[in-house]
Symmetry: C2
Subunit: 276 residues, 2 copies
DNA sequence: TGCAAATGTGTTATTATGACGCAATGTAAT
DNA sequence: ATTACATTGCGTCATAATAACACATTTGCA
């Protein structure tokens, strides 16, 4: 979502004149073709990565703004929403070729860009239907993905935008209800951990059991017993032990593993704990 | 969603003149105030009930149509979507005071009412923006609820509409992608069965273990062992055994139980199978 | 009266889980 | 080199959960 507050207007305008290709222009482009986009509906993406034994989230900051936001955008009328999610993520971050999973839709009445003041709209020459289109309540569909931190290098669509991996425990204030959206994504991920294996997309090709355990502990926000974790995770049958140890580590070198792709997919289909 | 095909037009028109308060009028009312509704966005409800040891779904049939549909409708701009879901269900079925849970959002490009032919729109005097508003792609948010079959007596908003409880295994052809929506709701319900207790809203005050088991078997589409089911379900600690047996039954009279409301809620919060 | 069908209450073997013990491996300080 | 220490790998044990099954009880009905 695009948010421009009154007090940021001058900064944005200066920036606009300098760069010639920034958020504001992107916004104008969309507004000029607003009939090609689904009205009052947007998509926001929660992209999780794992690095330094920490769960990271991909966030975007518009220059001269204090608050960050999730990468999001509008829905082309000629795209299924699942396709639009990929489009949106790619347009905002350059990230492509990943599987996005819908997890919830957010539609509080207050979900509009209240920061679009009359002055801002006039300054940006947004009037009438366009202004109405932009300032109405936007319902947003949340998608999340788990990606390989090292292989996913975000590229801002506009040079003056900042995209960063931020530790999920150190996420600053976010615009609108993006904090709630992020929280819901994490809760969904936490639930899914009980139903299916997780890690294939989050960890590098080769990894150690302690690394995988840290991932689980981070997502669950809970300490697990080393020995029981090893037994349980290996019993699932999705891991292949390599004849190779991790190098350049303090203390005893841990063994390296890979995921058995076939068995992993099989377990994904059937689920872990059937319960009944 | 309102669907009127070319060949049904005459029937609908006749009906309109007779009843004076039907689907078409409802549609007109909405279109006259279409700015009060979220554009291109709707809500569809999947209401589950349980009766005669069968899982039932609440479906609506418009007169002179062959296909049924889920109870759905549009979203007032001044209501949170969760509130709008309750509003929509109440307006279409008269059912009120139940908890609706969002489970997925559906937004294929083809999700529009293709049956609105030019002739139909002209006949109904729907032109310009109104026609555009109505015929665009509608993204729909799916909500589901579990209700007490005997206490939930649907009342059609229009006298010529038919609302019926239909066995989930005998659901006929539905409009648009409503079959897919129903399937997803059932899949969600099936998954939730592994995470939390189910039955509080679906069964009457007093019920028997075999009845509860039938409910589980119906949702899971799987046979369960009587004795193991009893042990597992009682171990959860949400049941209170009554000093009373079911009367007027063939064979041995089964014992009656109630849910321990407090413990039930407690388990709902914490979940069943933590997994990790 | 006896049978069929359903319920109530076990038993047993197997597996999964949680809470530990202890040796092996490597770094770093003395 | 020796020692301390953190971390990994492998194993034990008591308990709980699960799957499969046996048997007695209750009730309607032929």
């Amino acid at each position: 979502m695009f948010v421009i507050s009154k007090n940021e207007l001058n900064c944005v305008l200066n920036q606009y004149q300098k760069s010639g290709f920034n958020k504001t222009k992107m916004l104008k482009d969309i507004l000029e073709n607003y009939e090609n986009y689904q009205p009052g509906l947007s998509i926001d993406c929660v992209i999780f990565g794992f690095h330094d034994n920490q769960l990271k989230v991909l966030l975007i900051k518009i220059p001269h703004r204090e608050t960050w936001s999730l990468p999001g955008g509008f829905i082309p009328v000629n795209q299924d929403i699942d396709v639009a999610a990929v489009t949106v993520l790619n347009e905002r971050t350059g990230v492509d070729g990943i599987f996005l999973r819908q997890f919830a839709t957010f539609g509080k009445v207050k979900r509009n860009d209240q920061h679009f003041s009359k002055e801002a709209l006039e300054y940006l020459e947004i009037f009438e239907e366009k202004a109405k289109w932009l300032t109405r309540r936007f319902v947003t569909i949340g998608y999340y993905a788990l990606v390989d931190f090292l292989k996913t290098i975000p590229k801002p669509a506009n040079k003056d935008e900042i995209i960063e991996w931020i530790d999920h425990k150190e996420v600053p204030e976010l615009i609108l209800d993006h904090k709630e959206i992020l929280g819901k994504a994490l809760a969904t991920l936490r639930m899914e951990l009980n139903l299916m294996p997780v890690g294939y997309n989050l960890l590098p090709e080769k990894f150690t059991i302690p690394e995988l355990q840290k991932l689980y502990e981070t997502i669950l926000d809970k300490k697990l017993d080393r020995r029981n974790f090893l037994r349980k995770i290996t019993n699932i049958g999705i891991l292949t032990k390599l004849d190779e140890k991790k190098s350049n580590v303090a203390h005893k070198a841990p063994n390296l593993y890979t995921f058995d792709k076939d068995k992993y997919k099989e377990v994904l289909k059937n689920g872990l704990n059937q319960g009944w």
